[in-house]
Amino acid sequence: MSLLEFCRWVQYSGPLVGMRSLWWFFPVVATIHLLGLAVIGGAVLLVDLRLLGFGVRNQPVAQLVRDAERWLVGSLLVSVSTGILLFMCFATKYYYLKFFWVKLAALVLVVVFTFSVRRRVAMADATQASPLVNRLVALVSLALWTTVALGGRWIGFP
């Protein structure tokens, strides 16, 4: 089965046809998706602002990462699960949208980056931390998240 055939199968499967026939389904799920985005924004900024030397800068970065992580993971789960539902509603439309694939690639990259490089750099001993590396990590994280958000906005445009 090709990817397009898979998208078609998802979109026209029984449960999805049923869900789409409820007119409020898409807007309500899209709203929850957006609420998740707001919390992701807060949890990401808390750490990235600190790595850039702004925000709550009297607190150790490692502590802020631990404080934010729970909320980041929680809001990510909300946004990803609602995102999958939104995708399933119009899978074949998204298959043809270049920005959907850009968003997806950026999302995978930023999640891997956040829980590997960014986490390791932020958790490192504060005495050995390099401000330059910290800033670079924060900028990469912010750039990737911005790509995800912009891609998402672009997908929804008429």
């Binding site: 807007p27 957006l34 602002l49 607190q59």
Partner: protein, 167 residues
């Protein structure tokens, strides 16, 4: 002049029509308005969660507030500017939209809630600055704030669907 008359007059001005009929300018403003949510509501959520004792419980409340609030403030300016432009592009549609009206009422309530917080319990911040879980009044203010911002986002997102809900 009634509010509706004012909206009608505004909708007829050349710049309002230009923005309404433009394709990319309007969508650009909309994108800015939606994406600044991450900065504006995101930082407010983190402050509220600290006030609820649900994150950064080792950090003094005053520090979290004074260090994050400027970012919320900058976000607010962008939200008001872009939101103002979106209203300016379609004033009568916004005026007639029940979700828009609800959003504006909730917005006023959110501002009042923040003002009351700063005028009352925050005046005595020295007494509870380092409490892992702040006093009940601060937690109530934070809870109300979270609920109101969630309602504001929901109402904003529902604005284009008013015909489905009410017709």
């Amino acid at each position: 002049m009634s509010l509706l008359r004012f909206c009608e007059w505004l909708a007829g001005t050349p710049w309002s029509i230009a923005l309404h009929e433009s394709h990319y300018a309007y969508l650009g403003v909309l994108a800015v308005h939606v994406l600044t949510l991450t900065v504006f509501v995101g930082t407010i959520v983190m402050i509220d969660l600290r006030l609820l004792g649900m994150t950064m419980s080792r950090a003094p409340v005053r520090e979290v507030l004074t260090r994050l609030l400027p970012w919320s403030g900058a976000g607010l300016v962008v939200m008001f500017a872009s939101g103002g432009l979106l209203f300016f592009a379609a004033p009568v549609l916004a005026y007639q939209n029940l979700f828009f009206r609800f959003k504006m009422v909730a917005l006023v309530l959110a501002v009042v809630n923040a003002w009351v917080f700063h005028r009352t319990i925050y005046r005595r911040i020295a007494e509870w600055d380092r409490d892992p879980v702040p006093p009940p009044m601060a937690r109530v203010a934070a809870g109300v704030s979270l609920v109101l911002w969630a309602l504001i986002i929901t109402a904003g997102r529902m604005m284009p669907y008013q015909v489905y809900w009410f017709d």
